[in-house]
């Protein structure tokens, strides 16, 4: 089926089978491999992308269902070679250990801060609970989100 998706701001046309997942389209066709497969069933959040501006799991979306929509991935976050404040904060706060969950966390964090620029710790934890990290115990991630919120406000 022929579809058109705006990926990180660029319109792209694809011819896909109906059973193609958005995750695999992004990874295999576009080689945007920052979006990760972690579980395939919505448990880990590693495949979080923005679909028309909302954080969703690319492992649960059919590519054909994204037809005409806007998809944003971690690769589109940095602008003109400069890291996004959320990315900067994750690095500065040591919120990255193995790094596999990081793109998903950053995409969810960006959605959070767009909706709620000054979240409490409880609100951050609630919003990020679908993103799983086995390394950090989340402490430095929470610190990074708080620091990113401050950066974005100033």
């Amino acid at each position: 089926m022929k579809i058109e998706i705006t990926v990180n701001g660029r319109k792209r046309q694809f011819d896909v089978e109906p059973n193609k997942l958005l995750l695999n389209l992004v990874r295999d066709e576009l080689h945007l491999t920052g979006t990760k497969y972690g579980c395939g069933i919505g448990e880990c959040g590693a495949c979080t992308v923005h679909l028309d501006g909302e954080a969703v799991l690319a492992c649960m979306v059919l590519a054909v269902d994204a037809d005409g929509k806007q998809v944003d991935t971690i690769e589109g976050v940095a602008e003109d070679g400069n890291l996004d404040p959320v990315q900067e904060a994750f690095i500065e706060e040591g919120a990255i250990q193995c790094g596999f969950c990081t793109p998903g966390f950053i995409m969810t964090t960006k959605a959070l801060l767009k909706e709620n620029p000054n979240p409490t710790e409880h609100e951050i934890r609630e919003y990020l609970k679908g993103n799983y990290c086995r390394c950090t115990g989340y402490v430095n991630i929470i610190n990074a989100v708080q620091s990113a919120a401050k950066k974005l406000q100033s």
Partner: protein, 300 residues
């Protein structure tokens, strides 16, 4: 089922994709393909189930393009919610927060933000999962569901719709279009409680309560229990002993005993033994009753 058929990297089956834009079109497709067709709403259950080969489908009917299926609005009958309304929209809706806050409370406990941005209230109900977190509160709100049929639409009470055998009351060619939550009694206190193994989990037990106070006595009362039997249930026995009484600890103890008596999980459920669900259902029911009484008092 062979473990070699499961593959969560991909959807390991081929299907034809349909994206009808009207209810009539959707219904015709459903009638035409019968059991071979599956409805794609949010996809948060259908897609994992296809990967895990719990569902085989040769036709997938995406109903997201039918505009009237996604809405939250107030009418003279109460609040109408379209079947395709995202759980996230229910969670955040000011109208729902004001009129039936337990629905936003319950929606917020489903999965994660990413899942609620996809998952729909209709999907949550039509999957007929015993632990569906929307079914238990909707039941406590006397919800009426609206079903599309080529001949005209049908209304069922949610209780009739969830007829308790792991499936909902839908004939070939029919689909759930939405639900109507009747106007709730003024000053109703409401609460939803849930326990799972983590904060991102399906319910091991969930409980909803809606009640009002009149002259210090419980007047209107609904108590529903989920994840403890093949479909969520309204606990009439508990409601009847609560109504007309002053809310006391003793009364609640008696009521939750009756609630626990409704716990009849299937033997194949491995999450928790019946004893645990009984005990936890009492705890959650006490919490739900206490919180709704407190709210009812504040509103009275």
């Amino acid at each position: 089922m062979s473990i070699n058929k499961v593959n969560t990297h991909i959807i390991p089956m081929e299907f034809q994709y349909h994206a009808p834009t009207t209810l009539a079109e959707a219904s015709a497709l459903l009638e035409k393909y019968g059991d071979e067709a599956k409805i794609l709403a949010g996809g948060t259950d259908l897609i994992p189930h296809m990967k895990q080969r719990k569902v085989e489908a040769t036709h997938v009917i995406n109903i997201k393009k039918i505009p009237e299926l996604a809405c939250i609005k107030e009418t003279s009958k109460g609040i109408e919610i379209g079947a395709n309304t995202k759980l996230r929209a229910i969670e955040l809706s000011p109208l729902i927060k004001e009129k039936t806050p337990l629905l936003s409370e319950a929606a917020a406990t489903v999965g994660s933000v990413q899942i609620r941005n996809l998952g729909t209230v209709g999907g949550n109900i039509c999957n007929a999962s015993p632990s569906a977190d929307m079914a238990t509160p909707l039941l406590a709100l006397d919800t009426v569901v609206n079903v599309y049929n080529r001949e005209g639409s049908k209304d069922y009470t949610l209780e009739e719709f969830l007829h308790g055998r792991g499936e909902v009351k839908l004939e070939p060619g029919e689909l759930l279009t939405g639900m109507t939550i009747p106007l709730q009694p003024k000053n109703a206190g409401m609460a939803f409680e849930k326990v799972g193994w983590t904060t991102f989990d399906i319910a091991t037990v969930n409980v909803a309560a809606v009640l009002t106070l009149k002259d210090g006595k419980i007047d209107h009362c609904r108590v529903t229990l989920g994840a403890c039997s093949p479909a969520p249930v309204r606990v009439y026995q508990a409601e009847s002993i609560l109504i007309g009484e002053e809310p006391t600890q003793e009364l609640f103890d008696e009521a939750v005993y009756l609630i626990a008596a409704c716990v009849e999980p299937r033997e194949s459920w491995r999450r928790a033994p019946p004893e645990y669900r009984r005990k936890a259902s009492q705890a959650l029911a006490i919490d739900a009753l206490t919180r709704s009484i407190e709210k009812a008092r504040r509103l009275a």
